[in-house]
């Protein structure tokens, strides 16, 4: 069950964060922040391997007793993180990939909007609605 979806800018500032349970938002902010460590490490490792074409989907970032975090990095270094409940084993890798693809498309569309400055916190309502929908559907 995806409990939280977050977008992190290329300079590691939070762009957008939405979670199912509003009361846990602060905690997810902290968790999202810690995910940057693992994303950075994965990027370094994929850079070391030297292939030009980098897989955007990073896979499982880490899992703790409570949550599992999955990561995705766009070519512009915008990080997308999906956090799911550790007890949930229904969500498969494929489905997570699919969610990431949808999120990536949504972000691409957002960036196409000339009124949005890349790097600013995302306030678009339609974008928010889309993420909410994904959260709801994956749960």
């Amino acid at each position: 069950m995806a409990v939280c979806i977050g977008f992190i800018g290329k300079e590691n500032s939070p762009l957008f964060l939405r979670c199912i349970n509003q009361s846990q938002e602060l905690q997810f902010h902290y968790i999202m922040h810690t995910c940057i460590d693992f994303v950075e490490e994965k990027i370094i490792q994929s850079n070391k391997s030297g292939s030009d074409v980098r897989e955007l989907y990073l896979g499982l970032l880490y899992s703790s007793e409570e949550v599992k975090a999955y990561g995705f990095v766009t070519n512009t270094k915008v990080k997308i993180v999906i956090i799911i409940d550790s007890t949930n084993s229904l969500l498969r890798d494929n489905e997570i990939r699919a969610i990431f693809r949808k999120l990536h498309n949504a972000y691409t569309e957002l960036v196409c909007n000339p009124f949005y400055t890349p790097g600013d916190p995302i306030t678009s309502k339609s974008f928010g609605a889309l993420v909410d929908e994904l959260l709801a559907s994956s749960s």
Binding site: E11, N12, S13, P14, E25, L26, H29, Y30, I31, H33, T34, C35, I36, D37, F38, E41, L60, L61, Y62, S63, S64, E65, T117, G119, D120
Partner: protein, 1111 residues
């Protein structure tokens, strides 16, 4: 239960096979002490893993319980017995060794060997029912013989074995007088080790044999216990793989047990113990994945098995213990070389341990708060005794040795747990546990490249400190964390941390910290409602009026805080500064950009400075003053605002301030920098908000500025943090008059005219003239020397006037040369009502072209002006110098001076032919000197030099100065000298007439010291008939002449060839005659003998007269 949470020492230690030594009287017998020491001394690592214990001869071992014939009616009361492990580690040896002093040839052999047998028998009785093996070691003084030769020894050994009922392999002889005691004991040890292994093997077999008698319904505990024991025996015999297998089985049996509220605690505790063995051995067997997987399933199985709802805190305590135990095992394995990765390392387990410890504390406090006071008073902690006294691990003190399936008495159960809860609440330092676990986790995450995870853990640590009222620690931790989250714009965590800080600062009575956090909380970046911000803002303003902020709504004890605040306020005098906040390191509610309006200001200009301020707080604010500090504090009075009306801000208002001042003289040429902009606020107490800009980056619109500069407000303002104060611009003009190009070596006059265009008089004017070229010189007098620079001075030059100088430059090389003129002066100027002396500088550069003035070409010629290749000895010749004027100006020559080598004699010619001569551009003149070489032979000589003194002929413009002549010197070419072997002198009229005879005399002179023989040939030609010797052989003595006379009769007119003379060396000459080379002779002839002559035709009239005359 809490004491059983800690793993018992016997579980954690590495089990070593126990060998008991007896019969050694260590206190009285030196030899025995030596033997004992040799067993227990150093290098345990390299020796078999054994643990030696010394028992007295009369030591009583724990009595073994008799084996059960049948388990049918037996129901075990617990899973693992508390004493069993330590009993086998420390009390019941695998092998017991009896040391006995007995020589083979002992005279009282009989008696002694009976005593020995008796001793063995006694010990055997004591260890009845144990698998312990017995050994006998005979201590002998004599050196051992090979056993086959010592028949007595063999016989007696066999007899001894028989009487003691020992197998022959259990009898050893130790020569204790030997120097190689250590070697013997080592061999004994390996023998003991083998015996131990077989002893433990037997024990485990014995336990296994019980299995058939057990049934699943009643003996679940025994399945677990027996497998554990077998595993432990295997561990004692160092069979790690088998031990791991049996421990795993034991664990599997444990999970099959029926778990009820009554036994859940025991099962959890024991599962933790067995799990510990399983995980530890998995790591030891290099199966870390298996260990982790096993641990995870362990946690999954027990996570929700709380048991009694009251014992929630116990459950969390147990979970925390599991995580931290596993974390430590993992960490130990890493220390032994197991590689860990970022996503799988002990930190995660420590983190969970901390989480569970936090939960434990929470549950404990909650449940404790729910208790009624009377219930607490009625209980005495430890009413039921310590659980460590119980027979089985993990059982309840109030329910000892009760079968788990018996229904429990709920009242006792609840009372017991309540007693534990009270003890937990009042006696256990939970904060230390949480912080300890967090510290462990922090270290791990730091090692595994997860700085942000580390930050998150530190946040939790700070929160824990705050909860445990350790506010100082919390604030210390908080400070760097705030920066970490602020730096990447994580505003929500930042807000939460600030609130935590605010709370800590409030509860510990610290106005400065409270104020700082409040300022940041009021800024626009924090995620708080306007209402909350307004509330915080009111508190912040209140502090400056010595008003204590209201307590946070959830804070329970604010009485002490109130007192602290009152004390703090009392200690602060009126107007005292409570804090200075550096606002550009936090996201403050005031954002400042301070900039100079220009990159550079001239010294006489007014320096302009702008400060732009945006205020983003929730309510209007009024600052007391604003200061801009520059790197020179002298400007402070010009850069401040004190009128507080101008410092009143509405929320989100932007104000601009402009400052002007005149740069001071000592700042000219330096950089002025804006160091900080400071706001002062409050009057009862004051606080300063300072925006610093130590480097231009910090004021620049980059990321480092807080809060994000991309937002509206001051975003568009470009910041110039520093400005340069330039020297005053000079307002004078220097005109240089000269006649280019300069001539090389010439004393070249430059006429300088300085025009003062300033409005004021200028004083202390100095003009420095410098040549850039290394072989150029300048001088203020017309002299042919000087330095690379010259300085000219003038005390004062009134406005609008000029002054003039002459300087003279001399360039030694042709080409372009730079001459720099630098004018320095001072001027007194009135600026903003204070007179100030400024220094000004004016620089002008002149590029001067320099050309070669004259060209001189020297040549040596015969006296007939025929070119000479060699200078003949003893003859006169001339040196001709051709001087060409290459310069564009007419040149006047003073004189040309020859300077010849001393070998050459100069025939004085009076004045130089060039003296006073003026050559126009391109004209040439010759200077001639006659000279002769008196003696010498054939060699190369340096002929000398020629110096020409010259100047421009029209240089009359430089008034008051007489320009000296410049001298140009030229080297004459190097020449060969030639001592001529023959000198031929031909006497011939200047011209002849056709058909009129003329005389030719040829004198051949021999200047050398030797006799010469020559053949002379005179050939005829078409132009002449001649009379005289046509062919003759002549001999000439040294210093002698030979004269040949010819009468020539010209036949043709014109420039006709004379009959050619030819000299040859005779083919047959005598030895003493110097043979001359034909080529030399030919050259001599061609040199001295004219080849042609003008023959005039006969005039007809004249011809008649001539004819008449001849008649």
């Amino acid at each position: 239960m809490s004491s059983d949470l800690e793993l018992p020492a016997e579980l954690m230690s590495r089990p070593l096979a126990l060998v008991g030594l007896t019969g050694l009287h260590v206190e009285t017998n030196q030899t025995h002490l030596l033997i004992w020491n040799s067993f227990t001394s150093s290098n345990r690592n390299e020796r078999p893993p054994l643990n030696f214990i010394l028992f007295g001869v009369n030591h009583t071992f724990p009595v073994a319980k008799p084996d059960r014939a049948s388990y049918e009616w037996y129901i075990p009361k617990g899973i693992l017995k508390r004493k069993w492990m330590s009993k086998h580690l420390n009390q019941i040896p695998g092998v017991l060794v009896l040391f006995y002093d007995l020589e083979w040839e002992d005279p009282s052999w009989k008696a002694k060997h009976a005593e020995c047998a008796h001793l063995i028998q006694t010990i055997r009785m004591k260890l009845m029912g144990r698998g312990t093996k017995l050994c006998l070691v005979l201590l002998q003084n004599s050196a051992p013989l090979p056993s086959s030769e010592d028949i007595l020894a063999a016989d007696r050994a066999a007899a001894l074995c028989q009487v003691c009922e020992l197998p022959p392999k259990s009898l050893f002889v130790l020569p204790c007088r030997s120097d190689h005691l250590q070697g013997y004991t080592l061999r004994l040890e390996s023998a003991f080790y083998e015996l131990c292994q077989s002893s433990y093997h037997l024990s485990s077999r014995a336990i296994r044999s019980h299995r058939d008698q057990l049934n699943r319904t009643n003996h679940g505990y025994l399945f677990v216990r027996h497998q554990f024991k077998i595993g432990f025996y295997h561990e004692l015999k160092q069979d790690v793989a088998m031990a791991h297998k049996h421990y795993s089985q034991s664990y599997a049996h444990l999970l099959e047990l029926r778990i009820t509220d009554a036994n859940v605690t025991e099962v959890k505790i024991v599962s933790g113990y067995i799990g510990y063995k399983v995980w530890r051995l998995s790591f030891l067997l290099n199966l870390p994945r298996e260990a982790i997987a096993h641990f995870r399933s362990h946690m999954d199985f027990f996570r929700l098995r709380v048991g009694n709802p009251l014992s929630k805190f116990e459950h969390h305590a147990w979970l925390a213990a599991q995580f931290s135990t596993f974390g430590r095992l993992f960490e130990d394995a890493i220390e032994l070389g197991l590689p860990a990765i970022q996503t799988q390392h002990p930190g995660f387990f420590y983190q969970q341990a901390a989480q569970q410890a936090i939960q434990r504390k929470k549950a404990c406090y909650q449940d404790y708060a729910a208790l009624e006071q009377t219930a607490i008073n009625n209980l005495t902690p430890l009413f039921f005794g310590e659980s460590s006294q119980l027979e089985f691990y993990g059982q309840r003190p109030w329910r000892p040795n009760r079968l788990s399936l018996e229904p429990s008495d709920m009242k006792t159960e609840n009372d017991g747990i309540t007693a534990l809860l009270v003890r937990e609440r009042l006696q256990v330092d939970l904060t230390a546990m949480i912080v300890g676990a967090l510290t462990n986790a922090v270290n791990q995450f730091k090692n595994h490249r997860s700085p942000r995870m580390k930050q998150y853990l530190l946040v939790q640590m700070a929160e824990e400190y705050c909860r445990s009222e350790n506010y100082m620690e919390a604030l210390t931790l908080l400070e760097p964390l705030l920066w970490d989250y602020r730096k990447d714009f994580w505003w929500m965590p930042l807000t939460s941390l600030l609130q935590l800080g605010l709370r800590c600062a409030y509860l510990s009575g610290r106005p400065a910290e409270y104020f700082t956090y409040a300022v940041e909380l009021c800024s626009r970046v924090t995620i708080k409602s306007l209402e909350e911000k307004t509330h915080v803002f009111d508190n912040l303003v209140g502090i400056l009026q010595k008003r204590m902020p209201p307590s946070p709504p959830d804070s329970c004890d604010y009485s002490s805080a109130t007192q602290l605040w009152a004390d703090q306020f009392a200690s602060l005098a009126k107007g005292a500064c409570i804090t200075t906040i550096v606002t550009n390191t936090i996201s403050s509610f005031v954002e400042v950009k301070a900039t100079f309006t220009q990159k550079q200001f001239a010294a006489e200009d007014v320096v302009e400075l702008e400060v732009h301020v945006i205020y983003t707080g929730p309510k209007p604010i009024r600052f007391t003053s604003l200061h801009v500090a520059l790197n020179n504090s002298a400007y402070l009075p010009f850069c401040q605002v004190k009128n507080s009306d101008e410092l009143e801000f509405e929320p989100n208002q932007i104000r601009h301030y402009e400052f002007e001042f005149v740069a001071q003289a000592q700042d000219i040429g330096t950089e002025l920098q804006i160091v900080s902009v400071t706001f002062e606020m409050g009057d009862e107490l004051t606080a300063y908000l300072r925006c610093e800009g130590s480097s231009s980056e910090e004021f620049s619109p980059l990321r480092s500025e807080f809060p994000s500069a991309t937002e509206k407000g001051l975003a568009g303002i470009f910041v110039l943090n520093t400005t340069e104060i330039l020297p005053r611009t000079a307002n004078v003009e220097l005109v240089v008059h000269h006649e280019a190009p300069a001539l090389r070596g010439e004393c070249y006059p430059l006429h300088l005219e300085l025009f003062n265009r300033e409005n004021e008089d200028i004083i202390n004017v100095t003009l420095t003239v410098t040549t850039s070229s290394s072989n150029g010189r300048v001088h203020d007098q017309p002299k042919i020397d000087g330095n690379v620079s010259a300085q000219l001075k003038n005390e004062k030059l009134t406005a609008g006037q000029t002054c003039q100088w002459n300087v003279f430059a001399q360039m030694e090389q042709p080409g372009n040369h730079c001459i720099t003129f630098q004018v320095n002066y001072e001027i007194n100027s009135e600026m903003r009502k204070n007179s100030c002396t400024y220094k000004s500088q004016y620089v002008k550069t002149l590029e001067l072209e320099t050309v070669q003035p004259v060209e001189c070409e020297a040549q040596f010629q015969t006296i007939q002006f025929q070119p000479l290749r060699q200078i003949p000895v003893g003859e006169e010749c001339v040196a001709v110098m051709t001087v060409t004027n290459l310069s564009p100006f007419p040149l006047q020559f003073e004189q040309g001076v020859w300077k010849f080598d001393t070998l050459l004699t100069n025939h004085p010619m009076g004045n130089s032919q060039l003296a006073g001569l003026i050559l126009q551009k391109g004209e040439k003149a010759n200077d001639v000197a006659v000279l002769s070489l008196d003696n010498g032979d054939n060699r190369q000589i340096r002929t000398g030099s020629y110096t020409l003194k010259w100047k421009r002929s029209n240089q009359s413009k430089v008034e008051g100065y007489k320009i000296p002549y410049s001298a140009s010197s030229f080297d004459l070419p190097e020449m060969e000298t030639w001592s001529v072997p023959l000198r031929i002198h031909v006497t011939l009229p200047a011209h002849g007439y056709v058909r009129e005879s003329m005389n030719m005399t040829i004198v051949i002179h021999n200047p050398g010291p030797s006799y010469i023989e020559l053949d002379v040939y005179m050939s005829s030609n078409d132009a002449f008939m001649f009379a005289g010797n046509k062919q003759i052989k002549i001999q000439i003595y040294p210093e002698d002449d030979y004269v040949l006379k010819y009468n020539l009769y010209p036949l043709l007119s014109g420039f006709v060839a004379l009959p050619p003379l030819q000299l040859k060396t005779p083919t047959s000459t005598m030895d003493q005659v110097v043979a001359m080379d034909q080529s030399v002779l030919d050259e001599l002839v061609s040199r001295y003998v004219p080849t042609h002559i003008y023959v005039l035709p006969q005039a007809k009239e004249k011809g008649k007269t001539n004819l008449l005359r001849s008649e």
